[in-house]
């Protein structure tokens, strides 16, 4: 086994150009795929951050009965997707309004009475911050007798929904295309590499090498090329990911498991590619 491995390494160094081509093709394809995944991950982070701002504001009438409000808080809390229902007294609401206004909060200086109503702030669990679930909660709140008005940033949520959808569709489409290109590129590189050695395969057969022996040596080479290409891709992705993280503070880094996955994908492609292209040569006696 060790000898077969050594022989594969030798074969690799002997067919330098073709082997290099296969490694570069693998590396480049997986690097592109990795970058794409990195972009997608950051898009998702962005979406999550936008969704964090999703909140249903329920403004209460000034004469709202505190006991009913208390019960409503419990009822609303039980609705599907609701994370937290928080009561904001008139004073707290004013404080929050002041904070929202920022430097313009001077405007509120001269008020004699507090014009801001008491309110309930309802936050949603992740995964429920979409139009459908938020509207259900808003409708339920709006039906309460002591509620003046419900505001949930309808337009904001709609936009997030569209954005999410777009990222999903474009992501899946681009991912599929990139994967396909990667598979075609890598398999043709391997095919060419093996074709360039059809004479060698012929000689191996003529001197009595079994198909198993031939397959084994080429699979080991495919494994090595794939591992090398995958590692190169992982290294390049790491470089890009770290460079961005250094310059743009809020980037989501490429997850550590994915580096391993990239190398494994390279190995898999190397093995499968070799297996398929060899099959054609070996079928002939």
């Amino acid at each position: 086994m060790l000898r077969v491995f050594k022989e594969a390494l030798l074969g690799f160094s002997r067919a330098k150009t073709m082997s290099l081509f296969a490694v570069v093709a693998t590396g480049f394809s997986l690097f592109t795929l990795g970058l794409f995944v990195l972009v997608l991950l950051n898009m998702n982070t962005l979406i999550r951050r936008l969704e964090d701002k999703v909140e249903v504001m329920v403004y209460l009438k000034d004469n709202a009965d505190m006991a009913s409000v208390g019960m409503a808080i419990e009822d609303l809390g039980r609705l599907e997707g609701v994370d937290q229902v928080r009561y904001l007294s008139k004073d707290e609401a004013l404080e929050r309004f002041r904070a929202d206004l920022g430097p313009d909060s001077d405007l509120l200086q001269d008020l004699e009475t507090n014009p801001v109503p008491a309110s309930l702030s309802i936050t949603m669990k992740p995964g429920f911050r979409d139009t459908l679930h938020v509207r259900q909660v808003a409708t339920a709140a709006g039906d309460l007798s002591f509620v003046e008005e419900v505001d949930y940033g309808r337009e904001w949520i709609r936009r997030i929904d569209i954005f999410k959808h777009l990222v999903g569709v474009l992501g899946a489409g681009t991912g599929a295309v990139l994967s396909l290109v990667a598979i075609i590129l890598i398999s043709s590189a391997i095919k060419i590499a093996i074709f360039s050695r059809s004479k060698e395969i012929f000689i191996m057969k003529i001197v009595g090498a079994t198909n198993g022996y031939i397959r084994r040596s080429f699979l080991i080479e495919g494994f090595l090329k794939g591992a090398l290409g995958g590692s190169a891709a992982a290294a390049m992705i790491y470089g890009v990911s770290e460079a961005f993280a250094k310059h743009y503070v809020q980037i989501t880094r490429f997850p550590e498991d994915y580096y391993l996955l990239t190398v494994l994908a390279g190995i898999l492609m190397g093995l499968v590619g070799s297996w398929i292209s060899l099959g054609r040569h070996l079928r002939r006696v």
Partner: protein
């Protein structure tokens, strides 16, 4: 040792390539296989190393029958055969010694044995000083000698040479022939396919098989050969099948 029993090879498009071949080649024989290009010489040799199977009839070589041998057993047959081609079939990126050793490596001969066997074979063929040369650094004759060395590495009982001198000039061709005959004296059967009839000159005692349009039209000593359309001569030779 080698039997052809009513062997025919046909392809759907090309039609019949070999037809009704019957022959027997014994242990340690030396046989010339002649005939114009396209007469079926290469096809006949391919049947020997089971690159091809007959459409009908049976080819038996050693204890391998074309009827019964399984595809995965074919490599084990080939280890008992030495095969030499017109274009040498050497791997360009390996030295002469590596090319010879390669044949042993792929069949699982231990490295230590390869190390002793390869120099011995190269020496037999007068290639000791070329062991580290790459094929492109060798002359055509030297390359063919390396190819013969590789074919002999596995100590085959028969050496099959398909136009071994086809790419060589006459003088070198004669040298290759002398080498093949010498190998034969050591007990290895040899089958040489050629359409260069000058190689047969001075070797009248050896057996000659002549193919014409896929049929074996002569099987006898070189000296008795007559073309079959020269019917009197052929009958006089008494060897037409």
């Amino acid at each position: 040792m080698i039997f052809f029993k009513d062997v025919s090879v046909g392809y759907p498009r090309r039609g019949t390539v070999l037809e009704g071949i019957n022959l027997h080649i014994g242990k340690g024989e030396f046989v010339f296989l002649t005939g114009p290009s396209g007469s079926g010489k290469s096809t006949l040799l391919k049947l020997l190393y089971h690159e091809l199977r007959p459409s009908s009839g049976e080819v038996i070589i050693a204890n391998f029958s074309s009827r019964r041998v399984k595809k995965r057993k074919v490599p084990y047959l080939r280890r008992k055969l030495g095969i030499v081609f017109q274009d040498f079939g050497l791997l360009e990126n390996r030295t002469a010694a590596e090319n010879v050793g390669y044949a042993l490596e792929v069949t699982g001969v231990p490295r230590s044995e390869i190390r002793t066997r390869v120099p011995r074979i190269l020496n037999t063929l007068g290639l000791s000083n070329k062991a580290r040369s790459y094929p492109q650094q060798l002359s055509g004759g030297e390359q063919q000698r390396v190819a013969i060395a590789r074919a002999l590495a596995s100590e085959p009982f028969v050496l099959i040479a398909d136009e071994p001198t086809g790419n060589l000039d006459p003088e070198i061709s004669q040298e290759i022939m002398r080498i093949l005959l010498e190998i034969n004296t050591l007990g290895t059967a040899i089958i040489v396919a050629t359409h260069d009839y000058s190689l047969l000159k001075g070797r009248e005692k050896y057996r000659r098989l002549h193919l014409s349009d896929g049929m074996l039209v002569y099987d006898g000593p070189v000296e008795g050969f007559r073309m079959p359309d020269n019917s009197t001569g052929a009958q006089a030779a008494g060897e037409i099948t």
